[in-house]
């Protein structure tokens, strides 16, 4: 069957379209390889919230969502790459909250992105405090924000007086959770570090419905258990040394001396081990991202989340 002129044109045009589309994608990928990635990620093209607010023609709520998503993506990428610098995180969060001062989630998550030390966060607790204070100023009825503010003061700055003050302020908000009053009292007394930390992470777990927040709380609770266990075991080793004049040669010897029913185990059920210098160690330290005790020398923690 002879091909008509129109059909021939259609076929040639369709082929050209496919070839050109494929070639343009390939060309763009080469361009992407040539451009340094860092410059794309590190630049905040507009860093004035006022300019963005005006340029959005009144649709600033949508712009805030876009900037919040950008902040989450920025943090996620840096966190994944185990980056030690989060230069644009605070400006992105500040831009987001200036555009929509009632976007409570940006304060809550933003503080937990900013405050922890790298690689788990930006290591900027002061910027986190600024962000939270701005949040409290604009949303005085959100008791969660006072809780998060106190949390940063306690966990990252170890400023018990400020933490107590934040919890106290939050406890006056109508409908606030009763544990804020208890927290304020705990902070004021400076009581049991492990108990207080456990209480705070438990409260975080119970008061949030977000999967990531709950997973993060679970990881911290697991790590707290390890830290407490290792601290106690280490004390036992020290006491053994004081009584016998030497270190125990193994965990079994320590267990026998203390008349324990078995070797104490971490939250995963793996028995703790001991090196020749009497240091208590985790069998699988990589399973406890936030543990600060029981880690072999030079071990670098990797973020890992377990089921709740």
């Amino acid at each position: 069957m002879p091909i008509t002129s129109q059909r021939r044109t259609t076929l040639i045009a369709a082929a050209c379209l496919v070839v050109c589309a494929t070639a343009s994608v390939q060309a763009l990928r080469r361009v992407d390889q040539l451009r340094p990635r860092a410059t794309l990620e590190d630049v905040l093209y507009i860093n004035s919230p006022k300019v963005v607010k005006r340029a959005s023609l009144g649709y600033d709520g949508l712009m805030a969502c876009i900037y919040w998503t950008r902040a989450v993506q920025y943090f996620g990428q840096r966190f994944h790459d185990r980056s030690l610098s989060y230069n644009e995180l605070a400006p992105l969060l500040e831009m987001t909250t200036q555009l929509d001062p009632h976007l409570v989630v940006a304060y809550q998550f933003g503080a937990s992105f900013l405050a922890p030390q790298p690689p788990f966060g930006a290591g900027q607790p002061e910027r986190a405090i600024q962000l939270m204070e701005f949040g409290v100023q604009n949303n005085p009825q959100e008791w969660h924000l006072y809780y998060d503010l106190g949390f940063v003061y306690y966990m990252d700055l170890k400023d018990y007086a400020k933490a107590a003050e934040a919890f106290e302020r939050g406890s006056h908000v109508v409908g606030s959770h009763p544990f804020l009053k208890i927290m304020a009292a705990q902070m004021a007394q400076h009581a049991g570090e492990f108990d207080t930390a456990r209480m705070m992470w438990t409260a975080t777990y119970q008061s949030s419905q977000d999967k990531l927040v709950r997973q993060n709380a679970v990881e911290h609770l697991r790590a707290l258990k390890v830290d407490e266990d290792v601290t106690n075991l280490q004390s036992t080793v020290t006491r053994f040394g004081q009584q016998t004049g030497r270190l125990p040669v193994s965990m079994s010897e320590l267990v026998a001396a203390e008349k324990w029913p078995g070797i104490p185990a971490d939250p995963d059920g793996n028995p703790y081990t001991m090196d020749r210098d009497g240091h208590i160690l985790l069998k699988h330290p990589e399973d406890f991202s936030f543990a600060t005790q029981g880690l072999p020398p030079g071990f670098k923690p990797v973020a890992k989340f377990h089921d709740q």
């Binding site: 709520g61 949508l62 919040w68 998503t69 976007l103």
Partner: protein
């Protein structure tokens, strides 16, 4: 309203539908469903906010683009096709033609907004799994958007009654942008002195204040605009649209169509 105005309005509506204006609903549906699915994966806890903000912003922007691009051609197209002479040779007054066109375009936008609103609520139901009483506030935001459309339609018709389609589009779009900055203009007037103050104040009242209609972020957070705001915005939109429409009628009545 006279039967002739209703006829012109229904013809305008039919023409818009024939021009495949409602095809924008497909783009809207794709945008919204894509956002609803994607945002949950790339962001944290803002699925509902994004659906409301993006949905209502899209309703507003799609509608404004339609209002401008159809509105500017409503008169000029009739003149170009010479159908206007056929219409006006019948017992139809020029003002009836303008008012009919206005209602036809406004009707098209209301229908368009109605379908988009269904899309917004559908997407909201998808991401939140339920609708709450605070979601009813979205209806107020949609109502304000429709009020915005009335003003834009009237302005597009006003410019269309004396200018070319291209210039009308430029004028209408510029007024939309300036109207979004009306609050700033008023702030500027407050800071100025003497004649500048009078001119800036005059300009701030002359341009439509679109920022007064934007309650999208407010309703996204479940807060209700006050009853007074609803009433005053309604009155403002009706008076402003009435003013622009009257201007269009005045110009069109005197326009030499030969």
């Amino acid at each position: 309203m006279s039967a002739r105005v209703i006829h012109i309005a229904s013809n305008t509506f039919r023409e818009a539908v024939r021009d495949r204006v409602l095809y924008n609903l497909i783009a809207f549906a794709l945008l919204l469903s894509g956002a609803a699915i994607l945002v949950g994966q790339i962001s944290i806890e803002i699925e509902r906010l994004v659906v409301i903000n993006l949905g209502l912003t899209a309703v507003s922007l799609f509608g404004i683009v339609i209002a401008i691009f159809i509105g500017i051609g409503l008169v000029s197209k009739e003149i170009e096709k010479r159908t206007l002479y056929t219409v006006l040779s019948r017992p139809v007054r020029r003002w009836e033609f303008i008012v009919g066109k206005f209602f036809g375009l406004a009707g098209t936008l209301v229908v368009n907004t109605f379908f988009m609103a269904i899309g917004v609520f559908g997407a909201l139901l998808y991401v939140a799994h339920k609708l709450t009483s605070s979601d009813a506030m979205i209806l107020i935001a949609l109502y304000f958007i429709v009020l915005e459309f009335l003003i834009i339609c009237a302005l597009a018709l006003l410019f269309s009654s004396f200018s070319t389609p291209l210039l009308s589009a430029v004028f209408a779009f510029s007024l939309f942008v300036i109207g979004s900055f009306a609050e700033d203009l008023r702030g500027f007037a407050g800071m100025a002195h003497g004649l500048t103050r009078w001119l800036a104040t005059g300009a701030a009242y002359a341009v439509p204040n679109f920022s007064a209609f934007n309650v999208i972020n407010l309703v996204a957070h479940g807060q209700a605009p006050s009853g007074q705001l609803i009433l005053q915005n309604t009155l403002y939109a009706l008076f402003y649209a009435g003013m622009a429409l009257s201007g269009a009628v005045l110009i069109f009545e005197r326009r030499n169509l030969k």
